[in-house]
Subunit: 222 residues, 2 copies
């Protein structure tokens, strides 16, 4: 039986419903754990640290799909990706689509856009750029190819001295794939991206946050 | 019996415990309400909007103790106070104390500091400045005298067309006083500042978020 020494969990679509409201059962379950719980999100650092504070888990967060890592509420943003690369790609996309930017000034390592254009076409346009175009299910992200939630998890595992094989990860979307590729045990929630479910050691019966509770029960943590 | 048409509620110390972890009973109670729930905090706009999204209440938030108001998650920060005034006062305080700044770059209308110096002495030093020095219980804030949660609530009531006398407000600390002075019904939680309790129409038996649930029950909303 797998016994995690730390957990990394996505926020939107994993511990929240489709409206992004948090599941209180998941909050209470995560809060009870006596191992580090690392929130891993595509959202901005000040969103991630707020959610970590509200849930009452460790202040260690992966933000901007791995472009930024934080270790304490009042600590520094550790920036792992190049926003400049992403802005160059954005300028190219603007020639082809009307782009609505989200939190541009708050983002430290990437560019986030409303899901208003054809992402397949956009990926073709950007094929020669050193960036990737992610769909979190809530927004599109232009992200430095060098960053991912997986790379960020490697960075954190070295920093806190917990081996990657001792991490359980819980997610729902394609921006969780690299985290699944490096972690010891992978859990996809019921509403997860099919590719994520293929990589998963466990697919939960439920979604909207209840899947997280089921996952923690399966792991014998609650 | 008072029937509120909208509610404004402080975050830290009111819907959270001392560690700032949110009370899930309060979250579920607030989420159920079919009237606007406005979060009113001394924290920064991106913290407030994250908490509003997580709780699943209206995206209308009062931030920085009234220095900033927001009406939608992806909307603008409406800035009601002068950060420049606060920075001039900060420069004066730095001559007398070692000051540890909090979220300086994220704050749009004020300056926030760790509670590491004598606030009474600091208030004396700043008596001729056009600012006020607030203690939220979690941090000290240098704030433009022109702003308060009360002024911000007036601004919001006009914007959403709900009369101030139809607002119930719930809070715990001195930065909630001006909001208490303008609202129709005032609720202080058990751990509230004594001056706030004196102004209150209701003081709840409990704290750590349970007081919010008691307040909503008292108002017949849940």
């Amino acid at each position: 039986m797998f016994k995690p020494r730390a957990i990394a969990v996505d926020i939107d679509g994993t511990i929240t419903d489709r409206k992004r409201a948090i599941n209180c059962k998941a909050v209470e379950a995560l809060r009870k754990l006596n191992i580090p719980v690392i929130l891993a999100t595509g959202n901005i650092p000040c969103f991630a640290r707020a959610v970590a504070k509200m849930i009452g888990v460790s202040d260690i967060v992966i933000c901007e799909n791995g472009g930024v890592v934080r270790f304490s509420y009042d600590g520094e943003d550790i920036i792992l990706g190049s926003k400049e690369k992403c802005i160059r790609a954005l300028e190219e996309l603007k020639k082809h689509f009307y782009i609505e930017l989200l939190d541009f000034d708050y983002r430290k390592s990437e560019v986030c856009m409303r899901r208003t254009f054809d992402i397949k076409k956009a990926r073709e346009i950007l094929k020669d750029f050193d960036v990737k175009l992610l769909d979190s299910g809530f927004a599109y992200h232009i992200s430095d190819k060098a960053v991912s939630k997986g790379r960020a998890l490697i960075f954190i595992s070295e920093h806190i001295g917990v081996n990657l094989k001792d991490f359980a990860v819980i997610g729902d979307s394609e921006n969780d794939i690299e985290m699944f590729e490096v972690a010891g045990f992978r859990i996809a929630v019921a509403n997860a991206d099919e590719r994520l479910k293929e990589l998963a050691d466990l697919v939960t019966p439920s979604n909207d946050g209840y899947g997280v509770v089921e996952a923690l029960e399966f792991l014998g943590l609650i």
